[in-house]
Amino acid sequence: MDYAVELKRITKRFGSFTANESVDLAVRPGEIHAVVGENGAGKTTLMNVLFGLLQPDEGEILIDGKPTVLPGPTAAIAAGIGMVHQHFKLVPSLTVAENVFLGMEITKGGLIDHRAQRARTAELSRTFGLKVDPGERVGLLSVGIEQRIEILKVLARGARIIILDEPTAVLTPQESRELFETLRGFVAKGMTVIFISHHLEEVMEVSDTVTVLRLGKKIATRPTADLTKAELVQMMVGRAVSFDRRPREKSAGAPVLAVERLWARDERGLPAVRDVSFEVRAGEVVGIAGVAGNGQTELAEVLAGLRPESHGRFRLGDVDLTGRSPAAIRAAGLAHVPGDRMVRGVDRHASVAANILMTRQDRAPWSRRGLIDWSYVRHRAEELIGRFDIRTQGPDAPVKSLSGGNIQKVVVAREFSGDARFLLVDQPTRGVDIGAQEAIHDEIMRQRAEGRAILLISVQLDELIALADRILVMFNGRIMGALDAEGVSEDALGLLMAGIAPEAVSREAAA
C-alpha cells in the first residue's frame, strides 16, 4: 500500500545548525499520525518542509507515492496538503469568511462576492461540524473558534492531508475533545491527519501511529497501541520522567495575597473579571483553571498592575496595591511569569543576561553607584542558565536565538530567582516539552517549599492537579468554585469550566 505522505532522509540545516538530520516519516492514508519530541527537536521544521515553507537540504518527498517537489505552500496546497500553524495566521479585522477564503476569494465580475463566501463558509462549517459565524470579525473570537477557522481554511482549499502543529496548546480539555472528534471525522472520510503535541495523553488517546524525534533525528515510528506513555517519554527525552501529583507536606502559612471583590474590564471595556475574591497563603499553590478567555489573563494583569481594576481591592501582606504601578507591586513582593512570554516576558533582541537583569537593574549588587555591574549580571545569568538548564550558547546570546521552551525557562529563571513572596505564574509550560515541564514543575514545588505564595494559572488540568493545593475555576469572569486539588477529577473541573455548577460541587467549594 502507498503512503499518503512519505518523507525520505530529510535533512534541513540552518547555517551550521542541523534541525532535521536524515529524518524519515511515513504516514498511511486515513490515519492520525502524531509527531512528538522535545522543544527544538525539529518537529515544526519537518512539517514546514512538508508544507513547502522550507526547502530541505537533502531528501525526498513523496505524496501518494509520487515524488513531489514543493517549492512553496501553494504547491503543497495543490498537492492536497493543508497546515494549521502553531501560531494562528488569521487577520483580526477581517470576517471569518474573508479569512477562510483569503488568497482564493470568490469573485463575481472581478469583485469579491462576500455573500457567496459567507454561504460557502457556512456550508463547510456544517459539513465538517465546525461551528462558526461566517460574518463575525475574527479579532473578536476566542482561540478555540480561531482554530476552527484555521481548519476551515485548510478544508476550503481541498486538503486531504492535514498537518496541525500543537493544535491543543491553547485549548481547553473540552475544546480539545471536540477537535479530536472532528479529526476522527476527517479520517473517517478518508483524510489523513498529522499532528504535533506535547500532551502525551492526547497522543495516546487519538493517534494511530506515533513518530518520535529527538535532537533532529527520528528515534522511532510505532503504532500507538503498542506503546505506553512511559515508553513514549523515554524515547523522547532519553530518560524516565514522572508527571503525577507531586508529593507535598502541608505548608500553608499566613495569607500573602488577598483579593477582595475585584472587577476589571477587558480591552473592549466590558467586565472580564467579576467580583473575584480569594486568598493565597504562604507555602501554598492555588491553581486557577478555566477555558482561555474567561478572565484569567485579565485577573493576572490586574494583579501585576498592567491593567486597572474597576472595583475591588487586593493586598500583598499588609500593603494595599489597588491601583498601584507594576513597579510598586513588584516592590511589594510580586514575581510574574506572564502568559504571553514573547510579548511581555522577554526582550527578544537583548541577551539572556540583559533579560535576567530586568526588574532588578536598580538594586545592588546588580548595579552600584548608578552603574550596572555587567560582570555580575553575566555571572548570575550563567548560574541561572545552569540551574534552570537553559539551552543557550551563553549569557550573551540573544534571546531570540533560543527555542520557545528555553525562552520560557529564561522568564521562569528570572522570576523565580528573586526574593518575591508571591509568584504569579501564568501558563508556565505552554509549548514547553516534557523534560522542561518537569524542571519547571520542580521549581514551582521548590518555591512552595520555601514558603512563597503561588498563584498558578493554567489551561492544562493535569498540571494544576499535579501542583496545586486548591483549584479555583473561572468562568465568564467569576470564580465558579474552589476545589481541593487532592483527588479532584478532570471531569468535575471540566463541568465547572463549562459554567455548570452542580450543587454538590459548589458546596464542596466552600472550603
Binding site: V91, L102, K131, E136, R137, L140, L141, G269, L270
Partner: protein, 323 residues
C-alpha cells in the same frame, strides 16, 4: 458679519477643492503603502519628480497627456527603488524615504541645470498644461454655484472620484483586500501562499502612480510650471493625514479637506491684516490639533468597540457547550 460673508462663500469652497486635490491625490497614493504596512515618508520626493518630468514630457512632446505619463513614469521609478530597498533589502523606510526626498530635490535641480542651463523654475518653454474641464450644463443648473463642480483641471476630478473607487477597491477586490492583509498580518498572507513581497511592491507602485499624478497635477494642472521644491511639504502633510486616517479613503478625504480648508482659509485671513508668518502656521496647527484631539478623544472608538463586544458575547454562547 460682512467679514464673515467675505470669508465664507462659494469661492472659499472652490479654493478648498483646489487646495485639497493635490494632497488628496498623493495621500490616496500613500494609502496603498500605509495599508500594506509601509511607512512612506518619501511621498514628497515622488511628487516632486512627478511634477518635474511631467513638465519635461509636456515640453518635449507638446502633449499634456504624455507629460502626465512621463511624470507618473518617473514617480514609478522612485517607487520601485523605494520598494527595492524597503521590501527586498529591508532598509529602514524612514531613512530611504528621506533619502529619496533629498535625491528628488537634488536631481531635479541638477537636471534643470543640465537641460535648461539655469535652476529655479521652468516656465514657458512651450509647456502645455492640462485643460480646464467645463461640465456641460453646470452653469444653467447651478448658476453661481457652478464653479463648485465645473472648471477644474481633470486631475481634480480624478482625485475626488478616486475616493469611492478606492473604497470599493479595498472592500471588494482581491488586491485591495490583500494589501490590507499584508499590512495587518503579513504571516497570514504568506501562509495562504500570497507573496508579501509582490503585494508590497504592487502597493508601492500604485502609490508611485498616484504620487506621480499628484506631481503632474501640481505642474500641469494646478499651475503650469515647475519650480524647485514645488511640492512644498504637501507630501509630508499627506503623511500626517495618512497616519490619522490609517489609510482609510473616506477618513483620508475628510483629513485632506480639513487641511485644504485650513489652507484656503488662512490665505484669505491674511488679507484681513493678520501677520503672514502666523497665518501661514494655521494649516499645520490645525493638523496638529486634529492629531492630538483624535488621540485624546477615543470615545467614538470606545462606543464602537463596546457594540462589537456585545455581539461577541452573544456569539460566544454557542461555543461553550450547554447541551
Amino acid at each position: 458679519m460682512e467679514v464673515l460673508e467675505k470669508l465664507f462663500n462659494v469661492a472659499l469652497v472652490v479654493a478648498t477643492i483646489r487646495t485639497t486635490a493635490p494632497i488628496l491625490l498623493v495621500a490616496l497614493g500613500g494609502s496603498f503603502t500605509t495599508r500594506a504596512g509601509i511607512f512612506n515618508i518619501g511621498l514628497e520626493g515622488q511628487m516632486l519628480v512627478g511634477a518635474f518630468f511631467a513638465v519635461i514630457g509636456s515640453i518635449w512632446t507638446g502633449s499634456a497627456l504624455i507629460g502626465v505619463a512621463c511624470g507618473v513614469a518617473a514617480a514609478l521609478v522612485f517607487a520601485l527603488v523605494f520598494a527595492l530597498l524597503v521590501v527586498t533589502f529591508r532598509a529602514n523606510e524612514v531613512v530611504v524615504g528621506l533619502a529619496l526626498n533629498i535625491l528628488a530635490g537634488g536631481m531635479t535641480i541638477s537636471l534643470m541645470k543640465a537641460i535648461f542651463g539655469t535652476r529655479g523654475s521652468i516656465v514657458g518653454h512651450g509647456i502645455v498644461g492640462l485643460p480646464k474641464l467645463t461640465v456641460p450644463g453646470a452653469r444653467d443648473l447651478l448658476g453661481s454655484y457652478a464653479p463648485l463642480v465645473s472648471g477644474f483641471t481633470p486631475l481634480v476630478y480624478v482625485a475626488f472620484l478616486l475616493v469611492p473607487l478606492l473604497v470599493l477597491f479595498y472592500r471588494r477586490t482581491r488586491l485591495g483586500l490583500h494589501i490590507g492583509v499584508v499590512g495587518e498580518k503579513p504571516d497570514a498572507a504568506e501562509a495562504q501562499g500570497l507573496s508579501v513581497t509582490r503585494i508590497r511592491y504592487t502597493a508601492s507602485l500604485l502609490c508611485g502612480l498616484l504620487a506621480g499624478l499628484a506631481g503632474a497635477h501640481m505642474s500641469l494642472g494646478y499651475i503650469t510650471m515647475f519650480t524647485e521644491n514645488m511640492s512644498s511639504g504637501r507630501g509630508f502633510m499627506a503623511v500626517a493625514i495618512l497616519i490619522f486616517s490609517n489609510g482609510d479613503p473616506v477618513r483620508l478625504l475628510l483629513g485632506c479637506l480639513l487641511f485644504g480648508f485650513a489652507d484656503a482659509l488662512s490665505l484669505r485671513l491674511q488679507t484681513f491684516g493678520f501677520p503672514s508668518y502666523l497665518v501661514l502656521t494655521v494649516p499645520y496647527v490645525v493638523a496638529l490639533v486634529a492629531l492630538f484631539l483624535l488621540a485624546w478623544k477615543t470615545r467614538p472608538k470606545l462606543v464602537r468597540e463596546t457594540a462589537d463586544s456585545m455581539r461577541r458575547l452573544l456569539s460566544i454562547r454557542p461555543a461553550s457547550p450547554e447541551r
